[in-house]
């Protein structure tokens, strides 16, 4: 049996987490390949519907990564994202998914090592939780066959 490799979607703010991911790459820092990055203009642009869609389409975990509090390029986008993520965690519980599968992180563009650390932290967390209940019966991540 293939070991469970979680599929995790990270909605990353262009001004911080996305740049930090770039930096992590430049610094040759290794982080788990389970993370799928989605570049956002701001963490505040992460729409609740899109986050739910990620889970529905097979993500085992999702996180939103925005700037450090007080440092949002658009002033309050990351604070709004934080509230929305908190509300969505409740909705996930109502649906029957573990709220821990969704998280909000804050970091700056210069925090490449922290980016890698978050990727590891989230991968470990989801690995411990196991596959999303929605993915029961699906092929392990990355092995799905076309057609």
């Amino acid at each position: 049996m293939t070991a469970f490799e979680p599929k995790i979607v990270a909605f990353c703010c262009y001004y911080c987490a996305y740049a930090a991911a770039d930096l992590a790459g430049s610094m040759r820092l290794a982080y788990p390949p389970n993370i799928r990055l989605v570049e956002m203009p701001c963490s505040g642009k992460a729409d609740a519907r899109v986050i739910l869609k990620a889970f529905e389409e097979g993500a085992d975990g999702v996180y939103v990564a925005g700037c450090l509090e007080g440092d949002c390029h658009f002033l309050k986008g990351n604070l709004r994202a934080k509230k929305r993520v908190a509300a969505l965690k409740k909705r996930l519980a109502e649906i029957g998914l573990e709220p821990e599968r969704l998280e909000m992180f804050n970091l700056s563009g210069s925090m490449g090592p922290r980016f890698a650390e978050i990727a590891r932290e989230m991968t470990e967390r989801i690995r411990a939780l196991g596959p999303s209940p929605l993915n029961r019966g699906r092929s392990p991540a990355g092995t799905a066959q076309e057609g």
Binding site: D47, L52, E56, E94, I95, G96, L97, P133, L134
Partner: protein, 223 residues
């Protein structure tokens, strides 16, 4: 606007337990403004229901549509092409009016996804408060623009009552006494003398106690 809020997911889920395919209908009017039943909430509810049903091994198919308004036949009839044979239930994210308009037009199981709360307004994003009691005969000109019908717990017309304490209502210390507000406002306007006039008993037959109310305007009727 009519202010509403979403029912718990579990409740809506139970209402459509037997359905295999549902039409989830939003409303672009009041409930879009109060973030309860617009296009976004339709997407969230439909996705949540689909996932919850998938977890129960009983997949649900959803069709999402948001009408300009659910309280006008000219918009409701736009749903005709979506209400097909295989639609087992219609979930309406409108106020009680919209739900009834859909139920009146289609011989389908129509369920409400919202609880309609009151006629009110937005205090700040995410905060709404009641303002109108829909009593059918407005007296706001007599009370400085503050409605005693809905803002006074007793709806008294010649207040305040003995329960007014330090400007607050005895029902709840967080609620301002409407009659204190009226008094302060009339004083500001220099019209305290107006309050000496006794407001006669109200004709409540014009309010909801008289049964279904109607408004007719001859010149607006086309046929």
């Amino acid at each position: 606007m009519i202010v509403a809020e979403g029912k718990p997911l579990e409740e809506v889920y139970a209402l459509i337990a037997e359905a295999k395919k549902v039409l989830v209908v939003g409303c672009g009017g009041c409930v879009t403004v109060c973030l309860a039943g617009g296009e976004k909430e339709v997407g969230l509810l439909a996705a949540s229901l689909r996932m919850k049903r998938k977890l129960a091994d009983r997949p649900l198919e959803t069709v999402e549509v948001t009408l300009t308004r659910q309280c006008d036949p000219e918009y409701v009839e736009q749903l005709d092409r979506y209400v097909t044979e295989e639609i087992d239930a219609i979930v309406s994210l409108a106020c009680g009016v919209g739900v009834q308009f859909l139920a009146e037009r289609y011989p389908k199981w129509v369920v409400p996804a919202l609880n309609t709360k009151f006629a009110g307004g937005t205090l700040a994003p995410g905060r709404w408060e009641e303002r109108c009691g829909l009593c059918g005969e407005c007296i706001l000109h007599r009370t400085g623009g503050i409605c005693p019908i809905i803002r006074c717990a007793k709806s008294i017309l010649n207040g305040p009552c003995g329960g007014s304490q330090n400007g607050k209502c005895e029902v709840n210390k967080e609620i301002d006494c409407a009659w204190q507000l009226i008094y302060d406002r009339m004083r500001l306007l220099g019209r305290l003398d107006d309050l000496l006039t006794i407001e006669p008993a109200k004709d409540w037959s014009k309010a909801k106690d008289g049964g279904l109310r109607k408004v007719l305007r001859e010149e607006a009727i086309l046929a």
